[in-house]
Symmetry: C2
Subunit: 217 residues, 2 copies
DNA sequence: ATGCGTATAATTGTATACATTAATCCAAAA
DNA sequence: TTTTGGATTAATGTATACAATTATACGCAT
């Protein structure tokens, strides 16, 4: 018998709020109070509180005396995030190559195709989502819980700033090529190559992001 | 006017449960149900639920159909934790050296003294706590939120296995010496040295832990 | 014996009332 | 004008009742 597993209200509220923060519906500095969210979302405080606490733990919001304030990330944060990813994300690709399954490979290939599709449409919003999905999926397919749990929150935090770094058309072309190379290494089961290509890929992304950040002030 | 800020029941419950899991009061596999905890702790389900959700996010427990099950960590987890720490913990020491304050230095020095005091008493339980405190404090004093948030959960997860690695007396002596060297580098403001000493320290700890784990089966 | 289905019990999910705490505002005094 | 005190308001913290779900036990048919 198939199990239904309706997602709980708390999960739905969390997903919605996380997405709204990432996409800028609630910009940095916005104050979220439980009561306002009760009105807006039409559910009771209980699931809302649970969602807020999870967002708090991910450092997307923080208590501020009066309600929860939506946090931004500083240049220092971004620097640290990319430095950590530069050191760790290669491990994810390494184990993804080691533990890959046919199903996982198919999933990953689908991402590769979508990324080229959205690029041909110049759809930056979906490009951002797909880029994130690519890196999240590799973490997941690595089958290494600790690595996944360490990296995924960092991916979440950079999402808001990813779109800006995608306005550079040349970087987009390079990104797609780098993803493709990483995919090929994983598909070939060459863990060491996947690892070093990934580290280099993050390094490139970091340089591009920080440069953009400096130029935009 | 001084602010009081009594910690909430939810915080207290979280701290207690986290500590009980870390110290083995609730061993791996133990099932925690909200109702049992209500009886044991004498508070309502609301703060208990909040605490459980936070423990879940730290991967110390997981939902299991019937209640929440206390998770252990596998050898793979331990390997990943120490590999990640090996790559990142140096950054924490680096920034701790850069951003150090007199007060912070005093705090850190106090830890150094306590560690030698407890060693002279052969008090392994406190040694474990102090070791953890040392690394947590450096993360905190680095003033780099992302680095702190990335490392602290990893420290929590290894606590349970730290005591075992402290049964090696020679390792304890080395550990104290390594901590002292890291402290001196930070106090001297030599960020690069603090970073490399820390990386080496974690490498040593990793080797010792994995070896112990193999020997004990 | 074994598998199936239903009744029952146990557990979590949600809403809400009440308690407590913290922020705000305004009036009065320095 | 600034500050201070307290009343008021608004927010979160906590407990609890009720709903929905899931596990379990048991009887029945095969």
């Amino acid at each position: 018998m198939r199990e239904f597993h309706t997602t709980s209200l708390a999960d739905q509220v969390f997903d919605k709020l996380e997405n709204d923060i990432i996409t800028g519906v609630y910009p940095k500095g916005e104050i979220l109070t439980e009561l306002k969210l009760v009105e807006q979302l039409g559910v009771s405080r209980t699931p809302i509180r649970e969602a807020l606490r999870r967002l708090e733990q991910e450092r997307l919001i923080a208590e501020s005396g009066k309600g929860s304030v939506v946090l931004g990330i500083t240049e220092e944060d971004l620097e640290d995030i990319m430095n950590i990813r530069e050191h760790i994300e290669g491990l994810a690709s390494y184990y993804a190559a080691v533990n890959m399954t046919p199903d996982g490979l198919k999933e990953l290939e689908h991402i590769m195709d979508l990324q080229e599709f959205y690029f041909s449409k110049h759809d930056l919003e979906h490009m951002r989502q797909i880029d994130d999905k690519f890196h999240d999926l590799i973490c997941q397919l690595s089958k290494r819980t600790v690595i996944n749990d360490t990296l995924v929150p960092l991916h979440r935090k950079t999402q808001r700033y990813r779109k800006k770094s995608m306005e550079n058309d040349q970087r987009l072309v390079n990104m797609i090529a780098e993803h493709r190379n990483i995919f090929n290494a994983i598909a070939a089961g060459d863990a060491a190559l996947a690892e070093s290509l990934t580290a280099q890929h993050i390094r490139n992304a970091k340089l591009n992001m920080l440069e953009r950040l400096k130029n935009n002030g």
